[in-house]
Amino acid sequence: MISLRTTWLAANAVLMAVSLWMIFLWAPTDANLGTVQRALYFHVPVSIIAICAIILVAIGSVVFLATGRQKWDWFAYASAETGVLMGGLALVTGAIWGRPIWNVWWTWDAKLTTTLILWFIFVGYLMLRAYAPPGAQGARLAAVVGIIGAIDAPIIYYAADLWRTTHPQRVAGPGAEGSLESEMALTLVVSMITVASTYAYVLLERYRVRRSEAELIELSQKVRATVAA
């Protein structure tokens, strides 16, 4: 298994190198937006993965509540933590990208608003795990939050969208892109694969840490039992 991980890690490194070359050297410069448009190749994959993370948390939470098998809780937690990371990156890169293009750091359009609110929901998930009593109960409560968050996501988007059409702002948010030239599209696809693969690797690592933590607790309980006897 170790060699598989190392191979995967090496593959990720290669993917990163290739996509960096494509992003900065191969893809053509956008005629309207200039060089800064290349930020798209960072921001879009990160955002998509952040949304996937939410779905993964929901899946892990549902299966954990249904079966009670701990590994699904480890999976949900790892997805939540990595999801918060990706969501945070998506928000920050989106803001930095927006500034030169639309001249504002933030705009309350439906996508950004939904991303922000969902980010807070999953930060709440992590906080709950930190503050809840350790063990199965904390895991169960967090699973409920994960499920509620996923169910709420489309409602939040719908509400933010409705709100936005009632109060249209001057600036159109991201997503108001034109179509991409074929080289740009290919660069985006490669970047997407790179981010997805790297994310999956990091997710697996976080999962392993979670599993090791659980092993540790179990083992230290055994040791304490032998001392007591």
């Binding site: 200039g34 800064v36 500034r99 090791s212 540790l216």
Partner: protein
């Protein structure tokens, strides 16, 4: 032409820094955990050796 390269650089560096910082933290935690786990396993083995059979 104003290329706003500063912003692009910021995005690039933040994305990579964020990723790698997280990976680094996770790996470090994993190493600590493995060390503790091995220590505990060794402790358990010693206990098991030093108390042969069920003493009561």
């Amino acid at each position: 032409m104003n290329t706003n390269l500063g912003y692009l650089f910021a995005i690039y560096i933040i994305t990579w820094a964020g990723f790698f910082a997280y990976v680094f933290l996770v790996s470090r935690r994993q190493r600590e955990l493995e060390r503790e786990l091995n220590q505990l396993k060794a402790m358990l083995e010693e206990r098991r050796k030093s108390t042969p059979g069920d003493g009561r």
